[in-house]
Subunit: 137 residues, 2 copies
């Protein structure tokens, strides 16, 4: 088997993607890195939604294996690691953007956090370009 498909990957491109981030947390971890600029385990743990620590560790491993996330030692601190997104991970920017736009259109919650949405609305092309370049949007 040259390219082993998982149990669920039928060969459909949508299924391939869901195989990687089709769960409750993976995309939120990617969002924390791409949009909020989270770089350490602690920052990811303290995200808005409150992922539990074992799940976060597992997801980071999976995303690393999938080539979405990188993990390196922090040169300035022996106990810290720096997580980051690969180009493959940063290229999920359009997916995050379209999801956010869709939610902006249909989420009835008046208290929704619109920071990211505002950025996209103001300058979608620029926001996407910055995310793809690994900068904070």
């Amino acid at each position: 088997m040259t390219h082993s498909r998982s149990k669920y990957d039928s060969g459909c491109p949508v299924a391939y993607a869901l195989d990687i981030f089709g769960d409750r947390w993976s995309l939120l971890v990617i969002r924390d890195m791409a949009v909020k600029g989270a770089r350490t385990y602690g920052e990811l743990l303290a995200g808005w939604e409150g992922i539990s620590t074992n799940i976060l560790a597992q997801r980071l491993k999976q995303l690393e294996q999938a080539g979405i996330v990188t993990k390196e030692k922090d040169p300035d601190s022996g106990r810290s690691f720096v997580y980051g997104l690969t180009q493959k991970g940063r290229d999920l920017a359009p997916v995050l953007i379209e999801i956010a736009l869709w939610s902006g259109r249909y989420n009835p919650d008046p208290d929704a956090l619109t920071g990211f949405l505002d950025k996209i609305s103001a300058d979608r092309t620029g926001t996407e370009a910055r995310m793809r370049a690994g900068e904070r949007p």
Copy 2:
């Protein structure tokens, strides 16, 4: 409570969306309707990935409650129902498209099913417009 958030919905637009389709199957069901034109329970059950019947029933209920999916009696058959996408559901077209484009770029599987991808590549704007209009792309 006017707008009850689920356990995980932090108010972030990405979290709102994942609350609705952030699982293994929901987006595949939506894809089957939006891309493949599946309209009955049986057609959805016979999809590429092989969802089990209890999960399909549960997801259809949830998606109906979320205002993504409609369910009506088939006027031509007393035992059949016709499932469809609402505008909210059809407006997920850009999300499906971006996911497919991303997979097309990064999926190493040479046997990947590229039907949808080919359509997007040939005419993205038209494909999206047809999906939004409820036609088969």
